[in-house]
């Protein structure tokens, strides 16, 4: 099994439904098919869009699997059938999709991972707002909390990312003409999500994210080349090597409070951009919010953050001591709940953290609630 080379993943990234991701993906898939590549459609969501549907002509389609849930029938990609068919390339629409309960895997990106691991290349589509690290930013800019998310590392690991662009004006025209959704749904969409400002903000996020991914790939290639040079010529390249930028280490203070999710996303995003290591710590005592803490710890681990639980009656001191022992340069924390005026003679946790951690940087993350 282990000698199978993992398949190549290509993601078509858009900023909203209707920009033409699936169309562009199918166009390239058609080119491959005409060149004789063994390519199948593993999952395709037509949304009743005529021009897109015309693009699936001539393809072999792997039939979907029908699942029964809560008295209704749902159709999902039949991953096992795709694996049995074992084409060279599989087309899988809607990467961020969450499978119906009872499916083998919770998320479609996990299905895609299984397909890749079998040595099959995958073409897939997603919108920028499904990226976990942008969830709060999207909410702040648009007022919409996206539920279906994909951890950033999954997209980072894609071999290719292509930005599919369309101007917001053109997209709104498409909506008006009923190309994207049926007329009444389109009208509602234009008043809510598909406003000029929302679309523009999302488009900018997608552009910046694609630029970031391109840069990350360049950096990775450069450091791989540097390592190779060093291996070939011992000591020769070390003089000209860039000053180490990887010394930063970020520690996220995790609690059971709901704002911890924001804190985790933000801390991880900053760490990723700065190429810093990222840890999370919880000072465990109150049993009351045990469940919430556990949920946040799992969430952090899913984003590939190393998590720790420590004990100590003085929370700020325990955090700072842990931070020092791990060479942390920056502590990320949420705001303390404001104290009532008659208790203001006491310091909040953040104030104590600031006082204890005189030798390190402390970042108080905003909740970015208001629009």
């Amino acid at each position: 099994m282990s000698d199978i080379v993992k398949g190549h993943l290509k993601v078509y990234l858009g900023y909203a439904a209707g920009v033409g991701k699936t169309y562009r993906m199918l166009e390239e898939a058609q080119e491959m098919r005409q060149k004789g590549v063994d390519i199948v459609i593993a999952y395709f969501e037509p949304h009743g869009r005529k021009e897109t549907i015309a693009k699936v002509e001539g393809f072999e389609m792997v039939p979907r699997r029908v699942l029964e849930y809560a008295g209704s029938q749902f159709e999902e990609m039949d991953t096992e059938a795709v694996l049995r068919r074992k084409p060279a390339v599989a087309v899988v629409d809607e990467f961020a999709h969450t499978n119906v309960p009872g499916s083998e895997r919770v998320k479609r990106w996990q299905d895609v991972d299984a397909i890749l691991k079998a040595g099959i290349d995958v073409l897939t589509t997603m919108n920028v707002q499904h990226l976990e690290s942008l969830n709060d930013q999207v909410f702040h800019a648009t007022g919409i909390r996206v539920r279906e998310t994909v951890p950033d590392w999954v997209v980072d690991e894609a071999d290719e990312l292509v930005f599919v662009d369309l101007t917001p004006g053109a997209l709104r025209n498409r909506l008006e003409r009923g190309v994207v959704y049926a007329q009444d749904k389109a009208r509602r969409a234009m008043e809510n999500f598909f406003t000029e400002t929302n679309l523009t903000a999302l488009r900018e996020m997608a552009l910046r994210h694609t630029a970031h991914e391109v840069e990350e790939k360049l950096d990775a290639a450069a450091s791989a080349a540097e390592t190779a040079t060093r291996a070939g010529l011992p000591g020769a390249a070390s003089g000209s090597a860039q000053p180490a930028g990887r010394t930063e280490r970020i520690l996220i203070c995790l609690t059971g409070r709901p704002s911890s999710a924001i804190l985790i996303r933000r801390g991880k995003r900053v760490a990723d951009y700065l190429h810093a290591e990222c840890l999370a710590v919880h000072v465990g005592e109150e049993a009351a919010d045990r469940e919430a803490v556990e949920r946040h710890m799992t969430f952090a681990r899913n984003l590939r953050i190393e998590t720790h639980t420590i004990t100590g009656s003085d929370v700020p001191r325990a955090v700072v001591e842990f931070a020092r022992s791990r060479g942390v340069t920056q502590i990320f924390t949420g705001r303390s709940a404001p104290l009532p005026w008659w208790r203001r003679y006491r310091e909040t946790i953040v104030q104590r953290l600031v006082r204890q951690g005189r030798d390190m940087q402390i970042t108080i993350v905003a909740e970015r609630r208001q629009r």
Binding site: K10, Q137, H140, A141, E160, L161, V162, F163, V164, D165, L166, T167, A170, E196, T197, T200, A201, R203, E204, M205, L207, R208, T210, A211, H212, V214, E215, K217, L218, A221, G245, R266, Y273, L274, H275, R335, P338, W341, R344, Y345, E347, T348, V350, Q351, V354, R355, R358, D359, M360, Q361, I362, T363, I364, V365, A366, E367, R368, R369, Q370, R371
Partner: protein, 354 residues
């Protein structure tokens, strides 16, 4: 009054749409002519005003379905040039004109030295234009492009022309696809192409950001933090300025964000403090940070107002580590943290002791 006139002018003026690519052969021209074809199919009166040499078969196929206003051939100094037939286009006066090669230079003696000026004239006469341009032809980007490729295109358009466009659309493709398509002859290598690609995406993001701000301003919507990280470093004479600024610069570079520096003017500053502050600010200017001097008796209020106005996402502050607070009175730091709804506050210990 001026605003009304500007609006009226804008109303009469044609709409400009630009397809932006990061290198030749990403497929800009194809996308542009395909849009012309679709518009014509929807009933718009679209014609072709200018072509580039080396038309590929797929573009040829689209062109066969569109009306082309032939360009005129001019001989100058032993070379032949294709120039748009402006009088013919004015007479024909289509709704939409498709113009490839926006950065083209007309030969000496032409109506306008540059094709983008021809486009400007068409727009002024109420003809909408769809056109395509490459990153290497945007004047303000040429230093960076040259740093990547070692080459500099002779002809260019001002970036402002891009900002004034009603719409720009990015034509993106992975570098490998370009090399497959062309066999790689005379093209930069994949690494250089990737660098150009990043530059084009960031340029588009900046154009889009400016558009969004203009839209919000025009509709009286208060500024709010957007997709770009904007870092504000607040300095005082006691700040550990070197560390704060270096960290700010690193954030700016990694996020492709903006770095701003502010200090709040205080009365009765001691000369030695003034000197320290000036040193800090000189350091900031050296990093080409935008330096702002804020006025206001209330330090916190001045910083908060400025941070909101500037759509700041990260605020850097120095701290002593001592509480510095008295009975029932919130310290400035506490007040700032309480009020920071839309940006993170990063605290840096005052240096010196370490």
């Amino acid at each position: 009054m001026r605003r009304v006139q500007a609006d009226e002018r804008k109303e009469r003026r044609g709409r400009l749409k630009v397809f932006l690519g990061y290198a030749s052969r990403v497929g800009k021209s194809l996308r542009m002519f395909d849009e012309g074809r679709r518009r014509k199919a929807r009933g718009e009166d679209a014609v072709v005003g200018a072509l580039q040499s080396g038309v590929t078969p797929d573009i040829q196929e689209i062109l066969s379905r569109l009306e082309v206003v032939p360009s005129i051939t001019i001989r100058h100094a032993g070379r032949t040039y294709d120039v748009m037939d402006m009088p013919a286009l004015f007479r024909r006066h289509p709704q939409v004109c498709l113009i490839d090669g926006l950065a083209y230079d007309n030969p000496p003696g032409s109506r306008n030295p540059k094709r983008w000026q021809d486009v400007d004239e068409l727009l002024d006469r109420g003809i909408s234009v769809i056109t395509a341009v490459n990153l290497q032809h945007i004047h303000e980007q040429q230093d960076q492009v040259e740093a990547i490729t070692g080459r500099r295109a002779a002809n260019s358009i001002p970036q402002e022309f891009l900002h004034e466009a009603d719409e720009i659309e990015v034509v993106d493709a992975p570098p490998d696809a370009l090399l497959d398509r062309t066999g790689g002859g005379n093209m930069p290598d994949p690494r250089r192409l990737a660098e150009l690609r990043e530059l084009a995406l960031l340029l588009a993001a900046d154009v889009v950001d400016r558009k969004l701000q203009e839209y919000l301003d025009a509709h009286g919507v208060a500024a709010r933090p957007g997709a770009q990280e904007r870092i504000l470093v607040c300095l005082t004479p006691r700040s550990n300025a070197a560390e704060m600024l270096q960290s700010g610069l690193r954030n700016k570079l990694r996020f492709h964000g903006a770095l701003l520096v502010a200090y709040v003017e205080q009365p009765n500053v001691r000369p030695q403090d003034r000197e320290k502050l000036e040193k800090h600010l000189a350091m900031a200017r050296e990093m080409s940070a935008e330096v702002h001097c804020l006025q206001g008796a209330d330090f916190v209020g001045a910083i908060l107002a400025f941070a909101h106005e500037q759509r700041i996402t990260q605020l850097f502050l120095g701290h002593t580590g001592s509480p510095g607070r008295s009975w029932l009175v919130r310290s400035p730091l506490d007040r700032l943290i309480d009020a920071a709804e839309s940006f993170d506050v990063r605290l840096f210990p005052h240096g010196g002791s370490k």
